[in-house]
Symmetry: none
Subunit: 559 residues, 2 copies
């Protein structure tokens, strides 16, 4: 009985799937393995066809998800030398809303020859942005019918979410919609593959599919008002059985056990979402602490005992993150992506040469140069909407702005300004939460950015005026999933009976944190006042130039 | 008598002086010669001293002007084989306001040992920007006294101009001010060197030194209100005798004739300014035709029969460009400079590699890529204020803005947008002229940009909705000066009796012009409406964020 026990967490990301094997007693990572999706993000051509996708599309191939399991789990066992019988549970998390149509048996339609050439048969991932007209329709109908649910989504349902994408399939490919026996989230689809049963999770149901713990899904009347063909979508193509996080979904099927080299019946946790599963992995099990999952974008997630209606949040879901709490989610749709864009498109050759001669990464070189600037010194200000604004404006048609350029403006000035702009975006979210009754005392961070860019973290601390603590694990989602795996196993099998218990043992913080410099904070308050003015002027419809330009662009490209 | 006659034009620029020898009968360029100023633009240290200049200073060494004459004119004779006796006249033009203090004999104080180490003894060139406090004072006093002249300068006297610079000398180096028997424009100083007499020209007097054909200079009361020591500046250090353009200033002195290899007594024209002298060189001798002198910046110059007060112009001067007309000048302080900034700071290494492998200039590569875009397709919009705004806002504290950025934005999108932004800036100037009664039917262009960038010219035609004709000469200022040289000689000596006559014979256009595409113009009207909104919002004080950021930057840099 004193044999060390392990659990596995698998995190299905945007470009790759990543698995970790951790000790249940302390969360220590024993092995990890990554599988880069063969087809990656599909946004130009459908694989192996000349079929061109429209702009704003983003798909994945579900075969890559199975490959992730098949490649990474055996690799964990091999690397660690751990015996399969000491693996007490598995948890998984997924990007979301990442959804697909499947047949009765759960086979994705894109893996069936006769549907394969229709882009709508593929997995639409979170950053598929082509369902805006459908989101507009959902919002219009919901407002007209005064649907109560809208307030829980900050007043706006997103084009990225489940019913926008479902309605787009219906509108543009009714035959695919009809052929789909199920419309299902990636997280739930993977659990279905693992245990052979559909067990929809409360997190994606709540955050993406309008489900509420107390009210359930919207009524068929609402869906009929959207489109008569949609009236029974929940009954016909989804499931009303929603399973809370922290429960066991089932046991590994014999077939899947063979594929991945684990024991049949190994407990599998209810599926989860990458950002939300990271909350306990960052040690957070109580209110007042906002986690920033920082990578290409930022998800802001936290819990509170009460329901506060916060305008412009992504979602407020009872039981959506931790049992017994309301889970709050907000976000910024472009952060690391903006820096990557900048590096790819705006950094001159001489900087690349300098980085090469110093043998440092280009981001690192820019960070070095930008760190010699003091707050306010660049004379620049940006609005961080290169990928639209998720919170608190909830508007994908907004775009990026850079202001204050002179003939002396250097790449490092712009780089720092872009970092500052994303920090102002986070500060705006924090302030909106607090203005509406959700207290935020500390910030926590996980994801790729805190590891890579100390300047960025310090700027976030200085701008928000709050200490930022960093999750010890560089794979917070996978660790969180492994924690839920240990909870699925339960104490009797060497795991834990609750995620709070698991967090106390398995989750840790780095010793180093980022504390705000008061003088910097005060200078940044001045810049933030200007940011807010521009934020409201361009973001709240006083000047809709960004939308005008986008609509002009779309019209001309469509010609 | 049928012997071919020639004239010489010398254009004193920012980095070099350039002379051309042209046939009087048809303006054909027979030879040209350039002298790069040895000391160039002096903006860091005074030559041969360790004396550091403050920021925003820009000086020249007048010895470089004499060197220009001494090197280039003999070179013209040598290259062309033309005999000095067939050179019937010389004209010169200069950047402006480029001014210096001299002693009684016209020797610049910086060439006298005891003054040499004082930066104020040197030539302050047009882009010396350190006299802003003095310009502010002039504007304040003029407004308080309701001086009529202010309206002729768009409501604001510039820090670049004659009295701002003079007052700076008085404020910062009273001993130099006192030692100066003359404060004189470069154009007039060169004429003084050539003919041994001071003959101040109406162009620089009018555009830079507040002189008016009907009213003369401002009264001593005005100058006393500025500073009691300035009361008699005009009488003491300048001259009230202002000579109109198109007149002969005098004949070459024996000494100068020896130096340059021409005949003593060769007629020399009244001095002129580079942009203004280009008007007849681009065939323009009547109203309705605006010339754009396009290079690092753009000067917009034209004539009209009437005086119309146009807010935000640089100057309106009777007899300032062509005899019998009011001359109008406006400008954009950053154009080619912005593209150069972009290429240096924002174009990634892979584009440089592609340009190298295609063996094309990087601007050419960007032009190629940008030319595949249709108007409105980039989804971007910029305000072209990287170097402030000269017209019609007259505000050096404004800065550049780029709006509409997405993760798909490419360097060529931004490059094209910057071109469009400068074209919108020109369009704004054109519209402001027309709204205030100055009709503009056609555009003409000369300078470096029209030669280099056809895409840019087409975009200007499309945005302004006007045909753009291009001066045949790539050295329009020098040709214009040679034309005035031929007029100084007069018909009896084989030249012409008026600049209109000279223009008909000597000035030519390229066969190729740029005609607006109606469809493009219509799309651009939509974008321009958005440009105007931003222009007024940020430029007219509704949101003064640009000034706030600049002031923050200056404060922090000053710490």
């Amino acid at each position: 009985m004193s044999q060390t026990k392990y659990s596995i967490g698998v995190d299905f990301g945007t470009e790759s799937g990543r698995a970790v094997l951790v000790k249940v007693e302390d969360g220590k990572e024993v092995a990890s393995s990554v599988y880069e999706y063969k087809d990656g993000v599909i946004d130009e051509f459908l694989p192996d066809t000349g079929i061109r996708l429209e702009s704003d599309w983003a798909l994945q191939n579900p075969a890559d998800y199975i490959q992730t399991l098949e490649k990474t789990i055996p690799a964990l066992l091999k690397k660690s030398g751990v015996n399969a019988r000491d693996i007490i549970g598995i948890g998984i998390d997924f990007t979301s809303c990442t959804m697909m149509p499947t047949d009765k048996r759960g086979t994705p339609l894109c893996l069936i020859d006769k549907y394969r050439n229709n882009p709508h048969s593929w997995v639409k991932i979170w950053k598929h942005h082509a369902a805006q007209p459908e989101a507009d329709k959902i919002n219009e109908v919901a407002r007209k019918r005064s649907e109560k649910f809208l307030a829980r989504y900050g007043g706006k349902y997103s084009s990225e979410w489940f019913f926008s994408k479902s309605l787009q399939i219906l509108n543009e490919a009714p035959s695919i919609y009809q052929a789909a026996d199920r419309l299902i989230e990636g997280a739930d689809w993977i659990v279905l593959q693992l245990i052979g049963e559909e067990r929809r999770n409360s997190c994606t149901a709540g955050y993406k599919a309008l489900w509420d713990f107390d009210e359930g899904f919207p009524s068929p009347h609402f869906f009929r008002a959207l489109d008569p063909r949609l009236e029974n979508i929940v009954k016909e193509k989804m499931s009303q059985d929603i399973y809370p996080l922290g429960k066991k979904a089932g046991g590994l099927t014999a077939e899947m056990a063979r594929l991945v080299g684990l024991l049949t019946g190994t407990p599998v946790a209810i599926g989860n979402v990458d950002a939300h599963v990271s909350v306990p992995a960052a040690t957070i099990v109580s209110p007042g602490k906002m986690l920033m999952v920082m990578g290409t974008s930022i998800c802001h997630v936290m819990v509170d005992r009460e329901l506060h209606i916060v305008p412009g949040v992504c979602g407020i879901v009872k039981e959506g993150i931790l049992p017994g709490y309301y889970g709050y989610e907000a976000g910024q749709s472009g952060v690391g992506d903006i820096f990557a864009w900048f590096v790819q498109n705006c950094v001159p050759g001489k900087y690349w040469k300098e980085a090469a001669s110093k043998r440092v990464d280009i981001h690192r070189l820019l960070e070095e140069k930008a760190s010699t600037l003091r707050p306010g010194e660049s004379g620049l200000l940006a609005l961080d909407w290169w990928n639209g604004n998720r919170s608190v404006l909830v508007d994908v048609d907004l775009s990026g702005l850079l202001l204050g350029c002179t003939l002396e403006t250097r790449p490092e000035d712009v780089y720092r300004t872009l970092i500052e702009a994303t920090a102002f975006g986070t500060y705006k979210i924090i302030n909106t939460f607090e203005e509406n009754g959700v207290r935020i005392e500390e910030l926590y961070a996980c994801g790729g950015l805190p590891e890579k860019n100390k300047l960025l973290m310090q700027i976030y601390a200085d701008i928000t005026g709050r200490e930022i603590k960093i999750a010890a694990s560089s794979q917070a989602p996978a660790l969180g999933s492994a924690m839920f795996g240990a909870v699925a196993a339960g104490r009797k099998k060497g795991g834990y009976d609750s995620i709070v218990e698991a967090a106390r043992k398995m989750a840790h913080l780095k010793r180093e944190s980022f504390r705000p410099d008061e003088e910097n904070h005060s200078v940044y308050q001045g810049v933030y006042a200007e940011y807010e003015k521009l934020h409201d002027y361009f973001g709240r419809g006083i000047n809709d130039v960004m939308k005008q330009l986008k609509s002009m662009k779309m019209t001309i490209r469509g010609k």
